[in-house]
């Protein structure tokens, strides 16, 4: 059946929602009549990696982890076929009811989630994307972990349409700092998810996600906003998850013994909440139908309400200026030095000059090197030599060859240039020349300015990585031909 076209195998019923990688649809498996969920992810690279990851996910077999049945490649979409969870995600339910969960509901959901995590962690697998949106509920109130593994593999794809760093609110400090992490990272995210379930959103959700990135590693661990509204047990559960040092953080197995979890009720406690959400969802769809609209697109609503995705997905293109940065100069300088060290007597040694054609040359002092290495060195040379020259030229074009910035810039009238200059030179003196009104206006536009700059970065790196990805694809194609 895997060789058939997916639309011969499934009937797509409706769209269930949309996430950062693509949209999820409800589907009927034609030959068995089973209801399934299909996630359609647009992919342009590294398909093999993703498929490999999905096949690992397929091997996972736990009541507490959403089952993956397989995948199809259709046009440039990857279809990931998985188990359907009729009640949607915990965040869907909160959004529909405009209501957060109470402690009984939270503990019941957390117990299943912990069992899912204990299973995955026992297999030495890290989920990487624990949040209310990835905890799905069946109509009976069983909670299951979704999106396991996909997150890690799709970051590449995601880097292209979204932001490289992703939504940081659930990330453990060690993940943000990229200092190596393990299954304990999921336990931090679980603590954040507990707060999300209780308060409707994760800590720092009101501030810009990129600024949150700095809060998480530097500030003390977050706690429930109003601890007195919650039991000692729930407060303590959150406390045990949100420990900065991963080695001092509780494991999933340990927390299954926690009083908050041991005393949790079964899935029936969630029935009312689930029924309630279903009714609201149906009423919404009815109302939309009466107004002659299409079915309410809950995915779009999700993205609009929760503000966290805001300008992070590509929006309208602002006009942007490319700013010379101090960094740029240093890098160019250092490359030049490096190149000079490689040159002997002002000339690039023949060893380094040779491209792939030189590989067989027995006289070459490099012949003892593995051909790959020699090739790389040759390529490096051809390339970087030109780049060193080019860097010289473009630097003088920008006109900032000194590490102290030219006075022409700072003497300009107060405007955007001053700000750009201040940003790169760390000289904020000019602020004293502004009126209070100007200061306040500047403060208020800072985040927009930053967003624009980050969008520009996004574009630049997309352009920079594309040739590398193309070259990788070429190599892969050469191998299969």
């Amino acid at each position: 059946e895997l060789n058939k076209q997916p639309e011969e195998v499934f009937d797509i019923v409706c769209k269930l929602g949309e996430g950062s990688y693509g949209a999820v649809h409800m589907a009927i498996h034609k030959s068995s009549g089973h209801t399934l969920a299909i996630k359609k992810v647009p992919v342009d690279t590294d398909l093999q990696e993703i498929i490999k990851e999905i096949s690992i996910m397929q091997q996972c077999d736990s009541k507490y982890v959403v089952k993956y049945y397989g995948s199809y490649f259709k046009n440039s979409d990857l279809w990931i076929v998985m188990e359907y969870c009729g009640a949607g995600s915990v965040s869907d339910i909160m959004r529909l009811r405009r209501k957060t969960l109470n402690e009984l509901e939270i503990s019941s959901v957390l117990r299943d989630t912990l069992k899912g995590l204990r299973y995955l962690h026992g297999l030495k697998k890290i989920h990487r994307d624990i949040k209310a949106g990835n905890i799905l509920l069946t109509l009976e109130g069983h909670a299951k972990l979704a999106d396991f593994g996909v997150a890690g593999q799709l970051t590449d794809t995601m880097a292209k349409r979204n932001t490289v760093i992703g939504t940081p609110f659930w990330m453990a400090p060690e993940v943000i700092e990229e200092i190596g992490y393990d299954t304990k990272a999921d336990m931090w995210s679980l603590g954040i998810t507990s707060i999300e379930a209780a308060e409707g959103r994760p800590p720092y959700a009101e501030i810009h996600p990129m600024r949150a990135i700095f809060m998480i590693p530097t500030k003390p661990p977050p706690t429930l906003k109003n601890p007195e509204d919650w039991s000692h047990e729930f407060n303590d559960f959150v406390l045990r998850c949100l420990v900065k040092k991963p080695e001092d953080r509780a494991t999933a197995a340990e927390l299954l013994e926690h009083p908050f979890i041991v005393n949790a009720q079964g899935p029936h406690i969630l029935e009312e909440m689930i029924r309630d959400a279903k009714e609201i969802a149906e009423a919404n769809n009815m109302a939309a139908a009466q107004m002659g609209l299409e079915e309410v697109d809950s995915g779009t609503m999700l993205r609009n309400d929760d503000g966290t995705m805001m300008s992070w997905s590509a929006g309208e293109e602002g006009t942007l200026i490319q700013h010379p940065t101090y960094n740029y100069y240093q890098t160019a300088q250092s490359l030049r030095n490096q190149m000079q060290q490689l040159m002997i007597g002002g000339k690039i040694p023949a060893v380094a000059r040779g491209g792939p054609s030189n590989n067989g040359n027995a006289n070459s002092p490099m012949s003892h090197l593995p051909p790959e290495h020699a090739q790389a060195l040759g390529a490096l040379h051809q390339n970087s030599e030109q780049f060193a020259n080019m860097a010289d030229r473009s630097l003088s074009a920008i006109g900032a060859p000194n590490d102290t910035f030219p006075s022409t810039l700072s003497s300009q009238t107060v405007g955007s240039a001053d700000f750009q200059h201040a940003l790169t030179s760390e000289n904020f003196e000019f602020l004293r020349g502004l009126t209070m009104e100007e200061l306040i206006r500047r403060k208020n536009t800072l985040e927009d300015e930053m967003d624009n700059e980050l969008k520009e970065l996004q574009r630049r790196y997309q352009n920079k990585r594309q040739p590398i990805l193309d070259a990788i694809n070429d190599k892969k194609n050469q191998m299969t031909l």
Partner: protein
């Protein structure tokens, strides 16, 4: 006023460096260079493994640059807040609205 808490946060933030010395200088230069020079590079000369590595490193460089931009804006934000704070404390608020500092 700048609390010690803010200062501590600031110094840790400055240390947020995810590039741990594994990036060749020429790749950093490439990441910074004007796009019009990019056709000079012949990526096909590298092995697939190297290319894979460079592609990952480019992602890391991108992340680091995002971090750097955010750090820069955080510093500017703090400088602006400090300036507003000083004026609010130092002088009559109406004076500040009307004339800039010398």
């Amino acid at each position: 006023p700048v609390t010690s808490n803010v200062l501590r946060a600031e110094s840790t933030v400055e240390n947020l460096n995810i590039i741990h010395g594994e990036t060749p200088e020429w790749l950093r230069l490439y990441s910074q260079a004007d796009l019009k020079f990019d056709n000079l590079l012949e990526w096909g000369l590298f092995s697939e493994g190297d290319l894979q590595k460079y592609s990952e490193l480019m992602l890391k460089l991108h992340k680091q640059e995002v971090i750097n931009v955010v750090i820069q804006y955080e510093r500017l934000r703090k400088a602006i807040l400090r300036e507003i704070d000083q004026r609010a404390q130092g002088n009559h608020p109406l004076m500040n609205l009307m004339q800039p500092h010398p």
